[in-house]
Symmetry: C2
Subunit: 96 residues, 2 copies
């Protein structure tokens, strides 16, 4: 299993727009990707402009397929337009 934590810094005043695009993306991932076991947006309790996507995939292939979907590619620029910088994305291997 692969874990991903993508940290996103949202610009002031862009929270609602960002969350709307992110929720639509979450719904599409959940509806279409059996290999994506977790894909959940969270907002920091200590910084209202800081968010993460918490993600778990069954395999490297599932992660690769996620990145190749049309809806993920379409959401990227829309999410990016709400951010103050590039997302910080960390990739992890499960320990079990």
């Amino acid at each position: 299993m692969i874990g991903v934590v993508a940290k996103l810094a949202v610009a002031d005043g862009k929270n609602a727009e960002f969350e709307e695009v992110a929720k639509d993306l979450m719904a599409k991932v959940k509806a279409n990707e059996a290999g994506c076991l977790t894909y959940q947006l969270y907002k920091s309790k200590s910084d209202g402009q800081s968010y993460i996507f918490m993600e778990q995939y069954s395999s490297e292939d599932a992660l690769k397929r996620h990145g190749q979907t049309d809806y993920f590619k379409a959401a990227g620029p829309k999410l990016g337009a709400c951010l103050t910088g590039r997302p910080e994305v960390e990739y992890y291997d499960i320990v079990e």
Copy 2:
């Protein structure tokens, strides 16, 4: 729902000991905490000494109960002895 990402930097040579204690803790959390929906150790793909616990709780109460369990309190010093510094723990509210 509450999300937690706890980042842990493990000292060189301490990986096996750290993982053993962490796996025992995971097993106890999964066996005893219905309100803890995710409690999974991951190792960074880019830094073999960097780990996270990826965590999801059904409520603030479930998170609080987790921290008060005897097994969590017992694991803390054992895990801490394997680290190069204090864990970096971030708390999040779900966006849905």
